[in-house]
């Protein structure tokens, strides 16, 4: 036999003589409800009674507007107001008048305590203040920003050609950056500049928008020749920039020192310190070509690079074959000298590699 019972019968069996009230957050003796009597919503009594209480008049309004940065002419915004009565209950079914900082007031009814307005901001960028009023109660102001639509910005360099002296600071500037509505790109927006030289070696220059344009300064020391520059902002590239850097000139090639490595019947050579016409050491990593011809007609050519201002290499030439005619080529500078064997330099530490 199936006997049907319902939970209410069960609860009746468990109920004591005391009356209890249940609400959204628990249960307690009815006699001790206190201000829980003011909570909107359903309260049930263990004696079978129930109360469905609604919120009172609005006493406080909270406004949320977002997203905090809205793209001009493209993205919508959302203004959301919560109306609360004096006990914190959410007020439903009343009209909220929403002012978005432009245009007329928008009336909307609260539902389950929330009034929401989806809006399309004006195409002009800037900061806006919004407010809402429910039952004559004004919310605190909420701010939101409308920013330039980066997807419609066509980034351009301020100049299409520029020439920079070697070992000086080159300044690359963009033209004013504006979107399709003429709004300037906000300060702090990042963009990138890529310079590509004749050998397809690239130099990446990060930049940041300030006052509607970007400006980057870079020291040109090892990028001689014609470079092509390109801007990239929010996925949009610019036209090319001709960026010409003068060649580096070696003013002083320092000493050329040859010494023997008798164990392997070879010689080692150190050239430098190499100083530029601006008085600086030639930067590390610059390529150097060394061509040597011995007195007996044997010769050797090696390509190395500069480290700490020196070029240090080993040559498979007999130490007895000297003197040697040495030709050092760095960039477009060539230095020729005749060199005899000598003791190795004092405190020699060879860190480089040929």
């Amino acid at each position: 036999m199936i006997r049907l019972f319902f939970a209410l019968l069960l609860t009746a069996q468990m109920a004591s003589a005391q009356d209890f009230t249940t609400d959204a957050f628990g249960i307690l003796p009815t006699a001790q409800l206190g201000d829980r009597e003011n909570w909107a919503g359903l309260q049930q009594s263990s004696n079978g009674g129930e109360t469905l209480r609604t919120a009172g008049r609005t006493e406080a309004v909270i406004l949320f507007v977002g997203p905090k940065s809205i793209v001009a002419g493209r993205e919508p915004g959302h203004a959301v107001a919560l109306g609360l009565d004096v006990h914190g209950n959410m007020v439903s079914g009343t009209q909220a008048d929403v002012q978005l900082g432009y245009g007329p007031v928008i009336p909307v009814d609260t539902l389950d305590g929330i009034a929401g307005v989806l809006f399309t901001p004006p195409p002009q960028s800037g900061a806006f203040l919004a407010g809402v009023e429910i039952d004559g109660v004004q919310s605190a102001r909420a701010d939101y920003r409308v920013s330039a639509d980066l997807a419609t910005v066509l980034p351009q360099f301020a100049n299409s050609e520029m020439s920079v002296l070697s070992e000086t600071f080159g300044v690359i500037e963009t033209a004013p950056l504006t979107d399709a509505y003429g709004n300037s790109v906000d300060d702090g927006v990042g963009l990138s500049i890529v310079l590509t030289d004749e050998s397809d070696t690239t130099t990446f220059v990060p930049s940041v928008v300030r006052d509607g344009a970007a400006r980057s300064v870079l020291l040109v020391r090892d990028m001689a020749g014609t470079n092509t520059g390109q801007l990239a902002l929010a996925g949009t590239g610019s036209g090319g920039l001709g960026f010409v850097v003068d060649d580096m000139v070696i003013e002083d090639a320092g000493a050329f020192v040859f010494w023997a490595e008798p164990a392997i019947n070879a010689v080692r050579i150190r050239l430098g310190p190499l100083a530029t016409s601006k008085g600086y050491l030639v930067p590390d990593g610059i390529a150097a070509q060394v061509d040597v011809v011995a007195a007996d007609g044997t010769g050797s050519s090696v390509q190395g690079w500069v480290l700490d201002g020196y070029v240090t290499i080993g040559l498979l030439l007999s130490p007895d074959a000297g003197p040697f005619e040495v030709s050092l080529t760095v960039g477009k500078t060539q230095v020729d000298r005749r060199v005899d064997l000598s003791p190795p330099p004092e405190n020699l530490t060879i860190r480089g590699a040929e």
């Binding site: 006997r3 939970a7 609860t11 069996q13 919508p76 914190g88």
Partner: protein, 500 residues
């Protein structure tokens, strides 16, 4: 002569005292020698809390769709919030609420914790949510929620009030710096959860409590071997048994990592029982580690997973909701245990109305607890043999439900000279108890086998108790029948013959 007998008695008492002291010392020493390599090993593992929110289709005009990722984040927040509130109400620690509630909801949750000192608690067991509003920037969310909620009031050791209802509510959450928090929660309706009480009729059950000999307690399900189960069930049937009582380890059936394997094994066990004509009394939530309100939602989730398997099998005669819950009264409080049992019983009724229910109380003293919501009254009888019949008759007189004794048993552990028991003594005592309780609607003997490896986490660290527990079987671990097996065979024959 008398003097010699006195000397022997004194000597025996001294030996007994020395052995008892040594046993206790060994027990303490055993406990002290538990070492851990890492502190974390000594602590209970913190499992990631699953969401207990089921999402329903969102309304079509949301300005921002609720993505599956949103459902996970919001579901966890809503689950955690009510779990934390239940914990706060049970402990009185309102500071726990700050990470889960804000605004007016925080004030009300804190107030409810203060009022819970008067004995009232609320536990949210499940939630179904339908999104109603979602701010475009993902900062404000609102849903209509249908939630199963248990509310109860403790009055000293008594449960003064209990209800299990389906609340309807509107829940509003704000996405704040530390994640989603409930900002407002308004209850808009409530309805009782209908449940059926099918009752139980049938021939008296002649049953065995069952674990495999080599894998008792927690090892049973992870090491489930259908070949061994089949052999053992055939042995029970051969003994004249008509039923088997098995234990579903709480954690193994609740853990998402093991649950599917557990359910598959359970279905196989029920099939094997049906195959040899055995009825099954599955005992749920065995070795459940806590009755904290924070665990109730997870218990309900486990119930929802297990009950369809049980309901689908004709072998299941009834469900034993919990083994010996009265032993948890002292640690957890009687009202909380009763509220938990009533909650799980009502939810079981709602999920599987055709399944009969019982609770395996540890003694006849507790047998009538919650009898009015059960189909069968059951208890365990290890108490004084001379009053066993009187206890059974007293329980039967106090209820119109069938009364079963689902655990009786005697150890055969023989330390020396037949003390404290022996195989012959086990058979004699078991015979006497079976006869004393022959009027029950079901008798289940503990247990089919001796257990060479007793689970210390189930029976405790005492070597003495472990040795006693290891020898309750009708069969030795190698399958050799002990004299008690024949006693039980005869008793089962008589028990089933009475009905025939």
């Amino acid at each position: 002569m008398t003097r010699n007998l006195m000397l022997i008695a004194v000597f025996a008492a001294m030996i007994g005292g020395v052995l008892w002291t040594a046993s206790a010392a060994l027990s303490r020493a055993t406990e002290r020698t538990v070492t851990y390599q890492y502190i974390a090993d000594a602590l209970d593992a913190l499992s990631a809390r699953p969401s207990h929110v089921t999402w329903q289709d969102q309304v079509s005009d949301l300005v921002r769709p609720v993505t599956p990722g949103d459902e996970v984040a919001l579901g966890l927040a809503m689950t955690e919030a009510w779990s934390v509130l239940a914990l706060a109400q049970s402990t009185g620690d309102a500071w726990l609420l700050r990470d889960s509630f804000s605004g007016v909801a925080q004030e009300r949750a804190e107030r409810s914790v203060l009022d819970a000192g008067k004995g009232g608690q609320m536990v949210v067991l499940s939630q179904k949510a339908q999104p109603q509003f979602y701010h475009l920037d993902g900062s404000v969310f609102q849903a209509e929620v249908s939630m199963r909620v248990a509310r109860f009031v403790a009055d000293g050791d008594d449960l003064a009030y209990f209800e299990l209802v389906e609340d309807r509510a509107v829940t509003t959450l704000l996405n704040e710096t530390n994640g989603w928090r409930i900002y407002a929660h308004e209850r808009t309706g409530a309805a009782p959860i209908a449940s059926a009480q099918p009752g139980w009729t049938g021939a008296p059950l002649a049953g065995l409590n069952y674990y495999p000999a080599a894998t008792p307690w927690r090892d049973f399900w992870p090491a489930f071997d259908e070949n061994i189960i089949a052999q053992d069930f055939a042995r029970i049937a051969d003994l004249g048994g008509t039923a088997v009582r098995v234990f579903l380890t709480a954690e193994y059936f609740a853990d998402p990592d093991t649950q599917q394997a557990a359910l598959d094994s359970l279905a196989m066990l029920l099939f094997l029982a049906e195959d040899v004509g055995l009825q099954v009394m599955p005992t749920l939530f065995d070795l459940k580690p806590t009755f904290s309100p924070t665990s109730w939602a997870q218990d309900y989730a486990a119930l929802r997973a297990v009950l369809p398997v049980l309901a689908a099998s004709p072998a299941v005669t009834m469900v034993d909701l919990k083994n010996e819950p009265d032993l948890d009264f002292e640690a957890n409080g009687r009202p909380q245990i009763l509220a938990w049992l009533m909650t799980m019983a009502s939810l079981t009724r709602a999920e599987a109305p055709e399944l009969a229910l019982t609770i395996g109380w540890a003694s006849s003293d507790a047998a009538l607890e919650l009898a009015e919501i059960l189909d069968v009254v059951s208890y365990h009888d290890y108490a004084d043999l001379s009053t066993a019949t009187a206890r059974l008759e007293a329980v039967q007189a106090a209820t119109d439900r069938p009364v079963m004794v689902t655990e009786i048993g005697v150890t055969s552990y023989d330390m020396a000279l037949g003390l404290p028991s022996s195989q012959a003594g086990q058979a004699d005592d078991l015979d006497a108890r079976l006869k004393a309780l022959a009027g029950a609607d079901g008798l289940f003997v503990w247990t089919l086998y001796d257990f060479p490896n007793v689970d210390a986490t189930a029976v405790g660290g005492s070597p003495w108790v472990q040795r006693l527990q290891a020898r309750f079987g009708l069969f030795a671990a190698d399958g050799t029948a002990k004299p008690a097996a024949e006693v039980v065979r005869q008793a089962f024959e008589q028990l089933t013959a009475i009905h025939d």
